[in-house]
């Protein structure tokens, strides 16, 4: 047994237990140490061979997910240390927040490293349990209502994927990922099960028919939690979809997933036009990116790599966007776009970083998201007529315009008063780092490719 592979889970779990100790600043220090050790272990793992035993299954995809989850987790914990001060009436004490945050990270790390579709389901359901209260950190009626919607809708969606697991089990007689990767015989039940899994996990991933909880939660959760949600939680849900689609490699399922992805992109892009609340606007942007990722997963090959690159760079860029929206909310005390004026003059670092990260989440050239979306569109061109690619591009364009226009109106408009009220502290450094990481991803595309095909970097 190679213990290094369970170290990330061990760190987060230990940190969460330590957070129960009531001592000033102790929980913050413990969480940050655990988070950065997790990042370190995740990077070490990249150079180790793929590993699988009865319970663990760690291949290239899992390693990339581990890096992604641990890095966003680390930045979120770091950002939380400054942001928690701005919450006026928290529902619970600070150490409980960190306890939940660490458990949340644990459940995501657990999900991406287990070797059993059933346990993947358990892990994703556990993310619901651990993250639900985080959404309700701000003790207001609307945020509690949003939490409730999140719990109910996501649980119902996950019931569908549990049913899917049962169907898959009924055909294959095992839920072991490694065994199923060797090949399964396909029949109608398996295909139906896989489609249900796409819908069920898609609920958690903000995919079209059951996405309605997503803008509510992102709109009402505190900034670091929103960042963790849209950066990694949704991607972890899509990880389950990717695993199942790797196992059941059937055209019908892929086409189904493609259409769901396309519909998600279309819905998100059209709803973005009418948004007046910037947090909800960014939530729909997340949805649009998830739709693109699902399209990428469904097409496979280059598009699959594109989806992974998109997931990685989107995680950095979007988490940065949400941190910054937290900064703005703390300063302006309003979530309406028209109330926020002249960010570039009142909070220069926040303003310019927001501008760049908004460009990043919409897939503008220097950023990793651009490479990802390019690869996905290339995949669409390869398997579908030109019309579909143009359709997707036009929706992306709509999203691009509506986000950047609205962000531009927030950043570069004339401020009501010109007092500079920004402190150059953790709260601005973390987003800057994440936005630059979203750009740096492009240099690692060959490594990602190698990880996905071989499983390690020699």
């Amino acid at each position: 047994m190679n213990y290094i592979y369970i170290l990330p889970m061990f760190f987060t779990l230990a940190a969460s237990l330590l957070c129960l100790v009531k001592k000033t600043y102790f929980e913050e220090v413990v969480s940050i140490i655990a988070a950065f050790s997790t990042v370190a272990v995740a990077f070490i793992m990249v150079f180790l061979p793929s590993y699988t035993n009865h319970y663990l299954y760690i291949d290239g995809l899992s390693k990339i997910m581990l890096i992604m989850v641990s890095m966003i987790y680390a930045s979120t914990v770091t950002f939380s240390t400054t942001y928690m001060k701005y919450i006026d009436n928290p529902s619970f004490e600070k150490h409980f927040y960190y306890f939940l945050m660490n458990l949340f990270a644990f459940s995501m790390l657990f999900t991406v490293s287990v070797n059993d579709l059933g346990l993947i389901w358990v892990g994703i359901e556990a993310t619901t349990v651990t993250s639900a209260l985080l959404v309700a950190t701000e003790n207001t009626e609307t945020s509690i209502e949003a939490t409730w919607r999140y719990i109910i809708i996501v649980s119902v969606g996950l019931i569908i994927s549990l049913l899917a697991n049962i169907f898959i089990y009924s055909v294959t007689d095992t839920l072991n990922v490694q065994q199923m990767m060797q090949g399964v015989q396909t029949n109608k039940i398996l295909i139906l099960g896989t489609m249900m899994a796409v819908i069920g996990y898609g609920t958690k991933g903000g995919i079209f028919p059951m996405h309605t909880w997503l803008p509510d939660v992102h709109g009402k959760a505190p900034a670091p939690v929103s960042a963790a949600f849209s950066g990694i939680l949704l991607a972890v849900a899509l990880y389950a979809v990717a695993r199942i689609m790797q196992i059941v490699n059937v055209g019908m399922v892929k086409e189904f997933a493609f259409w769901l992805g396309l519909l998600t992109v279309a819905t998100a892009a059209t709803l973005m036009i009418v948004q007046r609340n910037y947090k909800r606007l960014f939530a729909y942007s997340t949805m649009e990116n998830m739709g693109m990722m699902l399209i990428g997963l469904s097409l496979g090959k280059y598009a699959f790599i594109g989806a992974v690159v998109l997931a990685l760079s989107h995680a950095f860029a979007k988490s940065s966007v949400f941190y910054l929206s937290g900064n703005i909310l703390a300063r302006y005390k309003s979530k309406k776009i028209e109330d926020v004026k002249g960010v570039s003059q009142r909070m220069p670092f926040t303003g310019y970083t927001l501008f760049f990260s908004a460009l990043a989440v919409t897939g503008t050239p220097p950023f990793g998201t651009f490479i990802g979306e390019l690869l996905i569109i290339y995949g669409i061109l390869k398997y579908f007529p030109l019309f579909y690619a143009l359709l997707v591009i036009s929706f992306l364009l709509v999203a691009f315009i509506s986000i950047n226009y609205k962000v531009g109106s927030m950043v570069f408009s004339k401020p009501t008063d010109t007092v500079v009220t920004e402190r150059k502290r953790v709260g601005t450094i973390v987003p800057i780092v994440n936005t630059s990481l979203a750009f740096l991803v492009i240099f690692f595309v060959p490594q990602i490719n190698q990880l996905l095909s071989v499983g390690m970097i020699k």
Binding site: L119, V129, A132, T142, I151, S155, N165, Y169, Q275
Partner: protein, 211 residues
């Protein structure tokens, strides 16, 4: 065995219809508890017939968690806030929701016959499907948080019935994990419900959560 399954299944459907009829939360919780016990009993019988200790263990766990623990926990919560004892204004009127719930059963039967029946060849399989959809409808048709939770657990019960009868032998660790998650969801939901104010009875007020 087929007859027993059909009997249990139709009894469960009847229970859900009764829940649609009922407006007192406590009675709905009791109904759910009874239906869970019946499913656990069925699983126990199944385990004895198939001579499988896992299924027996599962039935015992499910009887304890769904039959006893969760209803007990929820009833304790309800005693604390009295206004949640009764569903004052359901989304869909009661008579209508009974009829829709019935139509859902028919729909599930037809759906099952068209899709799954070609591969599974058991007509009774439509019963858990119907229960699943009915549970979802219970969530949609009510505003009371506790009743929505009951709807969710009804769906989960349906899955246990389905899986226990048609495909026994899901790995035990997975089932245990599922039950554990269920407890987690209920505990968290209990906390969230506790935080909710009276106004949660009327979802329409939350303008911020629109669009």
């Amino acid at each position: 065995m087929r007859e027993t399954f059909a009997l249990v299944g139709f009894f469960e459907i009847l229970m859900v219809l009764f829940m649609q009829w009922e407006i007192y939360t406590k009675k709905i919780i009791t109904t759910f508890s009874i239906s869970s016990y019946i499913i656990a009993l069925f699983l126990f019988y199944l385990g004895i017939v198939q001579n499988s200790p896992y299924v027996i263990a599962l039935s015992l766990i499910s009887a304890f968690v769904r039959g006893f623990f969760i209803p007990w926990y929820m009833k304790r919560r309800i005693v604390r806030d009295h206004w949640r004892e009764r569903e004052i204004k359901p989304v869909v009127s009661t008579a209508m929701s009974i009829v829709i719930s019935l139509l859902i059963v028919v729909f599930a039967y037809v759906l099952y016959r068209v899709t799954f029946y070609n591969s599974i060849h058991l007509v009774e399989g439509s019963i858990p499907m119907a229960l699943l959809l009915q549970g979802a409808f219970l969530i949609i048709s009510r505003r009371n948080a506790f009743i929505q939770l009951i709807g969710y657990m009804t769906m989960e019960n349906a899955l246990f019935l389905f899986e226990g009868y048609l495909f026994p032998g899901l790995p035990f660790i997975v089932e245990a994990g599922i039950v554990l998650d269920l407890i987690g969801i209920i505990a968290i939901a209990g906390v969230v419900v506790r935080m909710m104010k009276d106004s949660s009875a009327d979802v329409g007020e939350f303008d911020e959560l629109r669009g």
